[in-house]
Amino acid sequence: MSNIYKNKKWLPLFLVPAFAFMALYLYYPFFMNILNSFQSIRTLGLPAGEWNDPWYINYVTLIKDAEIWTSLKNTCLMIVVTLIVQVGLALVLALMVDNVKHGTQFFRTVYFFPIVISATALGLLFNLIFLYDKGMLNQILETMGKASLTDWKDESHALMTMMLPVAWQYVGFYFVIIETGLNGISSELYESAMIDGASRWQRVKYISLPLIHNVLCTCAVLGVTGALKVFDLPWTMFPKGMPIKSTFLTGTYMYYQTMEAKNVDYGSTIAILIVVLGIVLSQVTNRIFKEKDY
């Protein structure tokens, strides 16, 4: 029986289905997407008409397009919010929960709960909270004496209104990862430090944080790549980059160009930009948050 593991000549055959699946549903569409970015496609579902004239016109448009720069700026902001609010807040919460004696499981469940709710449902929920007329927030402010209604989705509030729910939704995800990392630290280390007279903050600073460094790196990489893919919740709350195309992210702008503006070939060009951006940013993040060997 052990010989079956030594004889590897049949092994490639078993890899074929997965490879075929990937080739058909990932690599083929990806290469077609590159091709499409040079062709004229009027509506989703229609075949490419002809080559663009000049063939690279979509890439020129990409550079000149003010909305793509807005999308990139907003996406960068989303990455910062992800790192600071999602990972940062998750770290604080995890450290606090790690220091409580009872109810760890309760807090884990409470903080993780938003993850299991669909982003679209959350978008609708927050739409009701931030609604202009009869919205929960405006009603609360009204009872506190505020005379006029606040448009939480206008140009000056829109980005905050969009990023707050996204940040809130994923705090629990990073909380669970960091909390798991903290649980892996031996309690003997903390006990020794206590005997040596280390304060609670010193234990966090010199034991917890260094030992979960790699976990935090993983969270940072997940956060950056995740921020690039955020789509459903922002689109539900701010379709078409409302208001005045100021809330576009790279993902929502690609969807808008493809599905709403029917500029499918330009949508393909933005998709390529997102892929390139994803590769570059994940490499940069990997280098900045390089994992350490202990």
Binding site: L44, G45, L46, D151, K153, D154, K240, M242, P243, I244
Partner: protein, 460 residues
């Protein structure tokens, strides 16, 4: 033994692959091979049950969604056939879905869809059957319709879609707000200047004059804004440039919307609100006017019911506060010239036509849905193309429907919406770009030219 085991595993993999392949081909084969079998069966037996794929826009909040369900049920029990209903709310995603279905060969057998430029792609590809071709085999097909009122496709001028109910676009009003502001309901004599004066008075009284979400659904204001500088004769013409006479009329129409925005006649959050939000403002008595289509009558009636699903819960006193009137005109357009017509109809697809059994069922279905008995149920207060339209029995209608019927009696003309010909990507600069236009972040003439450039580029 182990070698045999390896070979057996590999063989199983190969078989599973072959099986997958065989499945696909046999499924494909089933489609093509079964068809003649069932059609032969249908031809010989003449009573074999057919499953008919039907896609319409009678779904969601459409006022005729329930009428359609009832009619389908009645047709099924009459013929013994089955309808696979894939209807969906009419929006841009729905249009894309239909076009994609045709492209991928998964189109329905019967389609209720727009007869304008949105259908050009599958009409040009010969994927739907013309009424004349159907009549060559079924002479009675749509014979109860006035052919002169059946719209021809812009792609080739041939008639494909058999209409059911028409539509109109007009100005709904909340008379409670108008009374509070001390102004009268605009009528057929109200001019554009009078209307602006009314809006100012409504605003001064602390209400929002016009419920509109310019960042979400600017369509109606776009259409009437432009129509207001044109006549029914030239409204459907697309300008060659933003600088020619027609183009300047488009620019002037959009300038009017900008002026109204600057005067504060739209809701404070018009750029960030959804259409549902501004509609709620109107029905809640916070806004005076709503420019919308005939389909909104059902929405207003629902808003006056304590249970939107139960017609018996209608608050008739509340509904009496709503009225519908003409959109005030300026220049050559008369106030009583409306946007409207028969913009949709039933298509039979080539795929269904080529299968005798499905063809029979599709023709029967469309004939049933466009019969003299069914059409009035769907049309209610809108126009039809029937030769013998029944007399309107007002006792069957609610107060808003009756007001709509009375308004219609003074209409001087119905003109189609030019945006139906100006669809897709070319609308982006002035539809999605409306917030930029009204806030002055983008020049209106430039945006119109951008849309026209895209239009002519895609026409080639």
């Amino acid at each position: 033994m182990k070698k045999i085991w390896n070979i057996a595993l590999a063989a199983m993999m190969a078989v599973s692959f072959t099986a997958c392949g065989t499945d696909t081909s046999s499924e494909t084969g089933t489609d093509t091979a079964d068809t003649p079998v069932s059609s032969e069966g249908a031809a010989s037996a003449g009573a074999e049950s057919v499953s008919l794929n039907v896609t319409t826009t009678f779904a969601g909040e459409d006022g005729n969604a329930q009428n359609f369900k009832n009619a389908v049920k009645a047709w099924e029990s009459e013929t013994g056939n089955k309808v696979v209903d894939t209807s969906a709310t009419s929006d841009e995603n729905f249009k894309t879905r239909v076009v994609t279905d045709f492209e991928t060969g998964s189109e329905p057998d019967v389609l209720f869809f727009f007869n304008g430029a949105d259908a050009n792609d599958f009409v040009k590809a010969g994927k739907v059957v013309s009424i004349d071709e159907i009549r060559a085999e079924y002479p009675e097909y749509a014979s109860n319709m006035d052919d002169g009122r059946i719209a021809a496709s812009p792609a080739g001028g041939v008639k494909y879609a058999v209409p059911v109910n028409g539509y109109w676009e007009a100005l709904f009003a909340n008379t409670e707000v108008l009374d509070a502001a001390g102004v009268a309901l605009p009528d057929e004599n109200t001019s554009w200047e009078d209307f602006l004066d009314i809006c100012q008075k409504v605003k001064d009284a602390g209400y929002t004059p016009v419920a509109a979400a310019l960042g979400n659904i600017p369509h109606y204001w776009w259409e009437f804004g432009i129509f207001n500088h044109q006549t029914p004769e030239n409204h459907l013409d697309i300008p060659a440039s933003s600088e020619d006479e027609l183009g300047q009329e488009w620019v002037a129409g959009l300038e009017d919307i900008k002026t109204m925005y600057e005067l504060g006649y739209f809701p404070d959050n018009t750029l960030s609100a959804t259409d549902d939000e501004t509609f709620a403002m109107f029905t809640d008595g916070k806004a005076a006017f709503l420019l919308d289509g005939s389909w909104k009558v059902g929405g207003i009636v629902s808003a006056c019911q304590s249970d939107p699903e139960d017609a018996s819960t209608l608050d008739t006193a509340k509904l009496d506060h709503f009225d519908v009137t003409y959109f005030p005109g300026q220049d050559a357009r008369k106030t009583t010239d409306l946007i409207g017509g028969l913009s949709m109809g039933y298509y039979i697809t080539r795929k269904a036509w080529e299968d005798p059994a499905t063809r029979e069922a599709a023709v029967s279905f469309v004939e049933y849905m466009t019969s003299d008995e069914i059409v009035p149920l769907f049309a209610q207060h809108t126009a039809t193309a029937l030769n013998n339209a029944p007399e309107v029995d007002e006792s069957q209608f609610n107060s808003l429907q009756i007001k709509a019927i009375r308004m219609m009696s003074k209409v001087t003309s119905f003109t189609g919406a030019v945006q139906d010909s100006f669809s897709g990507e070319c609308r982006t600069s002035t539809f999605d770009g409306m917030p930029e236009l009204v806030t002055g972040k983008k020049d209106i003439a430039e945006a119109v030219q951008e849309g026209l450039d895209t239009y002519y580029a895609t026409q080639g």
